[in-house]
Amino acid sequence: MSLITIIWSMVAAACLTMGTMHLLVWRKRRRSWSNLLFFLAAAGATGLILCELFMLRARTPEEFGAMLRWFHIPAWVTVLALVGFVRYHMRAGRLWLAWTICILRTLSLLFNFLSGQNVNYVEVTSLRSVPFLGESVSVAEGVPNPWMVFGTMSMWLFVIFIVDATVTAWRRGERGQALTTGVSTLVFVLMGVVQGLIVLLQIATWPVVIGPTFVVLLGAMSYGLSRDVISAAQMADDLLESEERMALASEAAELGFWDWDIARDHVRGYEQWLRLFGFAPGEAISLSVVLQRIHPEDRETVEQEVQLSLKDGRDYAGEYRVVLPDGTERWISARGRLYSEAERPPVRMLGTAMDITKHKQDDMEMSHLRLELVHLARITTMNACSGFMAHEINQPLGAILNNASAARLLLGDGREDVSEILSDIAQDARRADNVLRRIRGMVRKCDVQMEPLQINGLIQETVGLLKPSISSNRARIYMDLKPDLATVNGDRVRLQQVLLNLAMNAMHAMAGMPVRTLRISSAMETPDRVIVNVTDSGTGIEEVDTDAVFQPYFTTKKEGLGLGLAICRSIIEEHGGRIWAENHPDGGAVFSFSLNAWRGGPE
């Protein structure tokens, strides 16, 4: 077989193979037009090369002329596809130039069929045999067709178009792109133009050999495209890695990721999310299936919020309860963001879900504890009020009763009338006392619940309750709690109220001070007494008699009732303890109380 036949056929086969590969790529990714255009260019080139082979092998001028005529169909396909390829792949080149080239080329194709034998020759008059690659091949001689000017013009414009596109790409910094696609296309087109000139102007006797150069162009173009494929593969690898990282992060943060395909109404949940909502992997999940998992009381709100988010295109955020098939309830905090393509309605919503059950429970416990404290504060205030009242009235009442009794004793058996008066006085004093006792009995309904307590645990709980007001006052809190303190016997909530009262007073005393430091310390005062100190960096106590601050109705606050410390004292004394106040040598006040250690066993 001849060398020419082998080379031309191999080149044609190579072009077709490369083109087919890109056709397959395009079938998978319909939007990558570059691949389709590459296929078209390659397919055109295959036809072009085959026509060329037949022309080289033509025996008569008629045969040559007819083949040259057919030659222009694949040439047209190739040029148009290349124009498109440059435009799409390099994202450069002027659009008007592209259109002009296409129109001129199409006109050239029209004249190819409408005038003369083909657009190159009105008529091929004779063939000449020329030696080429050790064989003799046919070269045509004939009358040139004037309409060939369209084809030539289209090629020159094509050269300009490519140069322009290459320069643009180069300037944009895409140098590799400019070199591979731009320069190789330019070389190919220039060769076509030069050959056209040579043949047309009959400068030299040269066979038409555009085809083989085409394989170089296709190779260069294919290289550019392959780089895209390689980088896509790299991206896929990166994506996989980032997904793995995300899975790790999601596990660490206990975040569940979800991805809702809105059009198909399919929710894809990642492992952690599936676990949170109690779905099995691979289960088909739609929005309504997810909504079914949401607590009936929260379901409607969630649905409305999702709809609202879809309507306004803004992010979704919400908290709701999820009820798992086994009946367990958990709190979820979810967020979602919409993704849309171009200006179209959103197609996806991506988001996260987090288990916040623990937070919610803590919150609920806190607010429950606060309510309980408020309730008890009211009762202890009443209790303390009636306590002061009882104490204040008991003294004069006791004096009246004592005096009446003493007078009766001194009076002896004489003066029945005076004696009767004295016993009436005593009787009324007793009646007043009974009224007081009844009131106190009523208030005392809320029983004191004494239990063995760890004072340090109590302090820590109280500080937990105080946290919000500490941070809002921008104060610092230090705890110096000695370990292994003796257990005390006391009422948890009442003692907590004392601690809260002392700490809140401290906070008030420090308002407006540059340094706001609250210290709570605990220690053993004696082997059988536990002491707690609440120290502030405030203004200290003005009273000379620091005991006066514990008197009822003593207050330095405008809105204060003056009962806080009196109540503290009444609670501590009820526990058989002692409470006192001092000024700290470095400024500020120290409020301390001490309680007996619990000796064990019920008393």
Binding site: L397, N402, S405, A406, A407, L409, A429, R440, E573
Partner: protein, 207 residues
């Protein structure tokens, strides 16, 4: 009404209540010393016996319970009756455990007060008597020589003269002489009386 034997010391800061209770106690037939604070009571060095303390729980300087503790610490054994405006149960339990005679919530009845005072004075009289006897017994024992004291400690264990002589390494006769002198000096006529006397004087049997 003639004053009964015994002094009631009242410590109460509220003047009108103090005056009223002073009157009542006096009218009930007791001698009274009324004071306004714990420290003025502590300043009193001599107390006429029998006596008792009528003490308010809440006092400005040293509160009632602390005063009670102080007296216990100083070994001044005086029966205490507490008075309180609004006493709490733990507080009264604490006071009673430490030997208070009674805990009276204000206002109280004359009868309650009187019986509490009588109980307290009776207790103190008993204490005073025991103290006196112990003091007397002690001074009698003090007249003995060290050897006689040693023999006494063996005698009250109930041992025979022979046994005592063996232990002390002396003759039975010498033991007999010491024993006779002990009986003579202390003025007792039997071993049983000797045992009682030694007990009052806090003399422990030898071992």
């Amino acid at each position: 009404m003639s004053p009964r034997r015994g002094v009631v010391y009242i410590v109460e800061d509220d003047p009108s209540f103090r005056k009223s209770v002073e009157r009542l106690v006096r009218a009930s037939g007791f001698d009274v010393v009324a004071l306004e604070s714990a420290s003025s009571f502590l300043a009193k060095r001599s107390i006429r016996r029998p006596a008792c303390l009528l003490l308010d729980v809440r006092l400005p300087d040293i509160d009632g319970l602390a005063l009670q503790q102080k007296l216990i610490d100083e070994d001044r054994n005086l029966p205490i009756i507490f008075m309180t405006g609004h006493g709490s149960i733990p507080m009264s339990v604490e006071a009673m455990k430490k030997g208070a005679v009674d805990f009276l919530p204000k206002p109280f009845e004359a009868k309650e007060l009187r019986s509490a005072i009588l109980k307290a004075l009776e207790r103190d009289a008993k204490n005073a008597k025991a103290e006196l006897q112990s003091k007397r017994a002690g001074s009698l024992i003090d007249t003995l020589t060290p050897r006689e004291k040693e023999v006494l400690r063996w005698v009250i264990t109930g041992k025979l003269n022979k046994q005592i002589a063996d232990v002390l390494g002396i003759t039975e006769k010498t033991v007999k002489v010491h024993r006779g002198r002990v009986m003579q000096k202390t003025g007792v006529s039997s071993v049983a009386e000797l045992v009682r006397l030694a007990d009052k004087a806090n003399i422990l049997p030898a071992s």
